[in-house]
């Protein structure tokens, strides 16, 4: 058994869901996603026991593309994140009715398939294929099942699609150039071994940067984000913010930094600065958003800015903190968007000014929402704190000002999140009735919160899982 099993399960799941019909689709999808999760856990055990679970075989001979899936700690951690979030996301959608549900759930599984592939691929072109494949389902999900005015939505979604696609083209160019240098091989090990001049590295780095900066997004390439998050159905938003953003961040660590380390070192300050600018900018913009989902989108922008800054420090702490924070943010942002969805199900609005006074009617929901909000502002004891602390620490090792400026997130973050919480949940009892969470909703929240709290106090399993692979990557970065 190796990692391709997960991909196969997900792909079969996608088709099975599609053919199972509208009524059964959601359950079938949940079943397959859980199966994939179970499979990945088994694989994780095997990996920890030292069994080789990677795959490499030739796929296309001319040009030389290998079907290479490399499962190291980092990849597995991201796969686990994807596969743990997918069932939660699917389960969270149980309260909604979707037209043409079979396609909807099929697309979700297909997207999980593509994203898992991205995290595992160890061949440049295979990786690129998965990377682009992941874009297609979300395009349809956002376009067909999204909300709001159809024209506006189309505009936002098409912009997102073309923008990310255009960015990825730079990456493709970089890969083709790299494979020319590596005698036609796209394999990641061969690319790692390349010794490029600093000029070449600069351009390669920049090409990767365009792809990733748009995907992550780093300011000023973020303009697609808030609109798409707002227009997409919540499931789509969760997939986008919970997992897809992490594809960009993961790729920075996996592909960009080791392949062009000289450029990364030379322009360290600029890229960390961009990340931190994102933190401050995102936090400030989030302050005065009127739409709940948009606010969360900008908070996402701020958080991923910090993660990106951590990755670009090129230190073990920075990378480790970034990965931890990626996972933590994945969970917390899914939870928060879900909370927004729960509110929307009852009130049919996400406009913050129209909400308020929910706490008296729904104490359970309020507590859960509050815990998520607190996790999002990185209260110690939550997983996010572990990540944020590590990242900020690594920034402080580069330059104390980075830590101070990046640290403003804990002030501004608290400000906009609590402000939002106050206006959405507190205040005079709302005139509209708000039923407390249902069992289904409660389970989704409870799982997310349990994960956040557990790893908040005991992040060692994840740290131990990712550290060896991050060290390997750092060795590649520092080989000169």
């Amino acid at each position: 058994m190796n990692v391709s099993t997960i991909l196969i399960i997900l792909l079969i799941g996608a088709f099975a869901t599609y053919f199972s019909g509208d009524k059964l689709a959601s359950k079938v999808a949940l079943l397959f996603s859980l199966a994939a999760l179970g499979c990945s856990v088994v694989l994780l055990n095997n990996y920890n026991a030292g069994v080789n679970i990677s795959v490499i075989c030739n796929w296309i001979t001319q040009p030389k593309i290998a079907f290479a899936l490399n499962a190291d700690g980092l990849g597995l951690a991201m796969v686990l994140l994807t596969l743990a979030l997918t069932p939660i996301i699917i389960f969270s959608s149980f309260g909604n009715e979707y037209k043409n549900a079979k396609s909807f759930y099929g697309l979700i599984l297909f997207m999980a398939f593509a994203m898992t592939g991205t995290f595992l691929a160890a061949d440049g072109l295979l990786y690129y294929i998965f990377w682009e494949l992941a874009l297609i389902p979300i395009y349809f999900i956002a376009l067909i099942w999204g909300n709001g005015d159809a024209d506006e939505r189309r505009k936002a979604v098409v912009k997102f699609f073309i923008y990310t696609l255009a960015g990825s083209l730079f990456m493709l160019t970089a890969f083709i150039y790299l494979s020319q240098k590596a005698n036609g091989s796209f394999l990641i090990e061969d690319l790692y071994k390349l010794e490029l001049s600093s000029c070449e590295q600069f351009w390669i780095f920049l090409a990767f940067f365009f792809a990733y900066a748009i995907k992550i997004p780093i300011i000023p390439f973020h303009t697609w984000q808030a609109n798409v998050y707002q227009k997409a159905p919540t499931v789509g938003t969760m997939l986008l913010s919970g997992i897809m953003l992490k594809m960009g961040l993961y790729s920075v660590i996996r592909w960009q930094l080791p392949i062009a380390p000289l450029a990364a070192k030379e322009y360290l300050y600029i890229f960390i600065g961009l990340g931190i600018a994102g933190v401050i900018y995102g936090s400030i913009v989030a302050l005065r958003q009127k739409d709940l989902k948009k606010l969360l989108a900008y908070s996402s922008l701020a958080h991923v800015g910090l993660i990106a800054a951590g990755s670009y420090t090129l230190t073990l702490d920075g990378l480790r903190g970034a990965v931890l924070q990626m996972i933590a943010h994945g969970f917390v942002v899914v939870g928060l968007f879900y909370a927004a969805e729960v509110i929307f199900r009852r009130f049919e609005t996400r406009n913050i000014s129209e909400l308020g006074g929910i706490r008296t009617q729904a104490p359970k929901f309020t507590s859960m929402f509050l815990i998520l909000v607190l996790a999002s502002v990185a209260l110690p004891g939550t997983f996010n704190f572990v990540g944020e602390f590590t990242v900020l620490y690594s920034l402080s090792q580069i330059n104390i000002w980075f830590a101070i400026l990046g640290g403003t997130t804990i002030i501004l973050g608290a400000y906009y999140m609590l402000r939002m919480f106050q206006h959405v949940m507190l205040g005079e009892t709302n005139s509209k009735t708000f039923a407390d969470v249902t069992l289904n909703e409660g389970i989704s929240f409870a799982v997310i919160i349990a994960v956040l709290l557990f790893f908040g106090f005991y992040s060692k399993p994840i740290t131990d899982l990712i550290t060896p692979s991050l060290e390997t990557i750092l060795n590649v970065i520092n080989k000169n």
Binding site: W224, V285, P380, V386, Y393, Q397, Q422
Partner: protein
């Protein structure tokens, strides 16, 4: 060791268990049971603390407990571990002790609130975090508690969450604290990178053993840590949240915003005394800020009419005095004042709570008066505490405050003067409060008058205990023969020897301080008892009083400078930069579109032209391939 671990866990986890029970089953258990569970949880912690205290005093050795790795950073390994030494156990004693009393008090005080179980769960959670803060073996565990108590403070200030003003106050407290937290974090980063540890014990050895320390950097770290302390302990410039925090229920004000949480800053500075000792410049800053805070808060306290606001500013002022002592390196003096302050300030708050409870929520002193007869126990306990805080001899506050002023006098005369003035003002406004509340005629409505009564036993019992403690608490550190100094001695590197001898100067200073206190009381007596003045209503306040009454407009200034600018920036970013960037991206699309539109015109549809161009292109390509080499 096993035993110690279990004890430590019992100590920490009992309140947490209480929290869990109250969260999940509180509503179905009923109010009394819920309150009892909450109180019991803290009481058990108190008993455990007593055991530990006994152990520490007999063996004199600190107990260290390591649970597991928490965060791994390349050069730092942070454990989740506890350190139970003299300082933390001392702190625990009054945290859990006063905590238990306040829990007991709350059962009665909050009995009419439908969310009583929630209140108790928050209180228990607070105690849990406070214990974590105190017994953490390294800075990061302290930080868990540090932020945790901030969270509980947020929850409890906003306990009556239907009122958005209260929610604003809660939010403000949390955010102000977070500003300090950032400083604390940065301080931790610097210390972590300098010494590769955040563990107190290791850090102490590392600093003691270090040969060439980067002192400027260490000072910077100390300054950052002090900013953290400023946030939590409400010092200038981060003090404005504390008076607003009075929006919470009164027991909360007593527990969190007077006795325990706000002293966390002092705890942290005392904990890291070996760091601050190496940064004399920062110590000066601390002393100056402490003195200024104490004076500014005292002046504001002079004219406040809300009974809890007076106490809040008094707290800020007293905390300022403690920092004054810390700034001079007199940690044990500060700790002493923390303890006595905890006693009498908790008592005062609880007493004010009793008054408010008796008047069904009225907090304005202008509408009180003459409560002495209706609420005798409340009156007497509050009187004792007021005497203590005013520094009247032989009450606890006298000893601790006197030691602070004495220390100040030895180091810096101007700061001594500032501190003394603040003390005189303290005596004045405390007795202003007493006279306005308990003497003369009742100024409230007839209906309130009708319902005036002494509070129940559950409320008066804690008051009495605290009053006793406020009276005799000073005995733990008598001048010249201080049990406290000896107890805390293992913690400090410097030997606090200079206060030991009592000379003429000292006695003179004591006399001056006593006279000052009495002077303050006398002025209050003349103004509010003899002349029977009642503060004017809000509209008629003018001149300097108005400035003081409005707290020097600090809130407004902060609002204008920070809040408004950030919000304005946010709107600017949202409306201009965001749309601008968006237009830019769409602009790329539009350019492409326009190019396509222009390019379309080349496609005339005339095949002849196409062919002509085609042939030309063919010529060009062919001649390039074959002829150009």
């Amino acid at each position: 060791m096993e035993m110690d671990t279990n004890l430590a866990l019992l100590l920490v986890l009992t309140p947490f268990l209480g929290f869990l029970i109250n969260v999940f089953f509180g509503k179905s258990l009923g109010k009394t049971v819920s309150g009892t569970i909450g109180t019991l949880a803290v009481a058990i912690s108190f008993i455990v603390t007593l055991l530990l205290f006994n152990q520490i005093t007999t063996t004199g050795k600190a107990i260290e407990v390591t649970l597991f790795d928490w965060i791994q950073i390349s050069n730092l390994k942070i454990n989740l571990g506890f350190l139970l030494d003299q300082l933390s156990v001392l702190w625990l004693l009054f945290v859990t002790g006063i905590g238990s009393l306040i829990h007991l008090y709350s059962i009665s005080y909050m009995h009419d609130d439908e969310n009583l179980h929630k209140f108790f769960s928050y209180l228990n959670l607070f105690v849990f975090f406070m214990i974590t803060l105190v017994i953490g073996s390294n800075l990061l565990v302290l930080f868990i508690g540090w932020e945790g108590v901030g969270l509980c403070s947020y929850l409890l200030i906003g306990f009556w969450h239907k009122n958005q003003d209260y929610n604003d106050a809660a939010k403000k407290a949390f955010i102000m604290n977070r500003i300090g937290d950032l400083g604390l974090l940065i301080g931790m980063f610097i210390i972590g990178s300098m010494f590769s540890t955040l563990d107190y014990a290791t850090l102490k050895t590392a600093i003691a053993g270090a040969s060439n320390l980067n002192l400027p950097l260490l000072s910077l770290a100390a300054l950052c840590l002090f900013i953290g302390a400023c946030g939590k302990s409400a010092q200038i410039p981060l003090y404005t949240w504390l008076p607003d925090a009075m929006a919470g229920p009164t027991p909360v004000s007593a527990l969190i915003h007077a006795a325990t949480m706000v002293t966390a800053g002092i705890f942290m500075v005392t904990r890291l005394n070996f760091v601050f000792d190496l940064a004399p410049d920062v110590q000066t800053v601390i002393a100056v800020i402490g003195a200024i805070t104490s004076l500014v808060a005292a002046t504001i306290g002079l004219v406040q009419n809300d009974i809890k606001k007076v106490l809040a500013y008094s707290t800020v002022s007293q905390l300022g005095l403690m920092f004054l002592a810390l700034g001079f390196g007199a940690y044990e003096v500060a700790v002493f004042h923390v303890i006595t302050h905890a006693f009498f300030k908790a008592c005062l708050f609880l007493g004010s709570g009793s008054v408010i409870h008796g008047l069904h929520g009225e907090q304005d002193m202008r509408k009180m008066g003459g409560l002495r007869k209706a609420m005798p126990i409340t009156f007497w306990t509050m009187l004792i505490s007021s005497l203590a805080i005013s520094g009247v001899p032989f009450f606890s506050g006298f000893f601790s405050k006197d030691e602070i002023l004495l220390t100040a006098f030895h180091h810096s005369i101007p700061l001594y003067v500032v501190g003394s003035v603040a003390s005189i003002m303290t005596a004045f406004y405390m007795f202003r409060l007493m006279f306005l509340t308990f003497f003369k005629e009742f100024r409230g409505t007839e209906e309130q008058k009708h319902h005036l009564h002494e509070s129940g036993a559950l409320i008066t019992f804690p008051l009495m205990i605290l009053a006793i403690l406020a009276t005799f608490g000073g005995l733990i550190s008598l001048p010249g023969n201080s049990w406290l100094n000896e107890y805390l001695a293992p913690l400090f590197t410097k030997v606090a020897g200079e206060e030991q001898h009592l000379g003429t100067t000292e006695y003179t200073l004591m006399g001056v301080a006593v006279l000052g206190g009495l002077l303050g009381i006398l002025i209050a007596y003349i103004k509010y008892f003899k002349q029977n003045n009642v503060p004017e209503s809000d509209e008629n306040i003018t001149g300097l009083t108005k400035v003081l009454y409005n707290k020097y407009y600090v809130d407004e200034i902060y609002d204008a400078i920070f809040v408004r600018s950030v919000n304005g920036l946010s709107v600017f970013f949202r409306d201009y930069i965001e749309t601008g960037l968006s237009t830019l991206v769409f602009g790329l699309g539009k350019i492409t579109d326009e190019l396509a539109f222009q390019g379309k015109k080349i496609q005339t549809g005339s095949i002849g032209l196409y062919l002509f161009v085609f042939v030309l292109g063919l010529c060009a390509i062919v001649s390039y391939i074959f002829l150009a080499q």
